[in-house]
Symmetry: C2
Subunit: 120 residues, 2 copies
């Protein structure tokens, strides 16, 4: 049974924008990521994506507005909606989404597209 | 787009063992619950269930062991596995599981079985 402590799990990696799977259930995954800087604009055609801010602050940007996120704030990005997270200082986030979702969605980015299914 | 702050959402209700849906995505739900005391033993035949402890402490009991949960601890209970949460003082938990899962699973309990799909 996958189990753990989020602070401990976040302490086990340092790289940004490289989601780590900590639980797989019902065809979905719970992922952790550290983020810093601007991520590419992208959308997930067939996956709703829930962001939960665990530590730090970041901004979830949409084409027509932006949402400031701090610890305990969550936000659901429906499938098809273009978005990007932007963090001026490092933040730690938890993602809930279907298994095998690519972090950059419809965008293939040499720098930011990360491998899927990396288990922590 | 469903969004909010978990502390604020938890402040909006007081009752125990009555899960509230705060986000629906990909056929799944994110639910919040306040818990206190012993919940009935039960299992979910077709749903894996992720517990995340947000505030307080509780014990996730299985027939052959128990796991102590504090803030930031998460634990995945696979489908079919009998379990019950026990909280000696009030705790706040986040659940991630398929939509329309009954809180008491295979058990129909006059006291503890709660309505499904209650949105906060």
């Amino acid at each position: 049974m996958p189990a753990g402590d989020l602070d401990d799990k976040f302490s086990q990696f340092r790289e940004h924008w490289q989601p780590k799977v900590v639980a797989s259930l019902n065809g979905q995954e719970v992922k952790l990521a550290k983020i810093l800087g601007e991520f590419p604009w992208h959308r997930h055609a067939e996956a709703d994506e829930l962001f939960l801010c665990w530590r730090g602050r970041f901004r979830l940007e949409f084409r027509d507005h932006a949402v400031e996120m701090g610890p305990g704030d969550y936000h659901l990005v429906p499938r098809g909606v273009e978005h990007r997270p932007v963090a001026e200082a490092e933040a730690e986030i938890v993602l809930f989404e279907p298994a095998d979702v690519r972090n950059t969605g419809d965008v293939d980015d040499a720098c930011f597209t990360a491998p899927q299914g990396v288990v922590l």
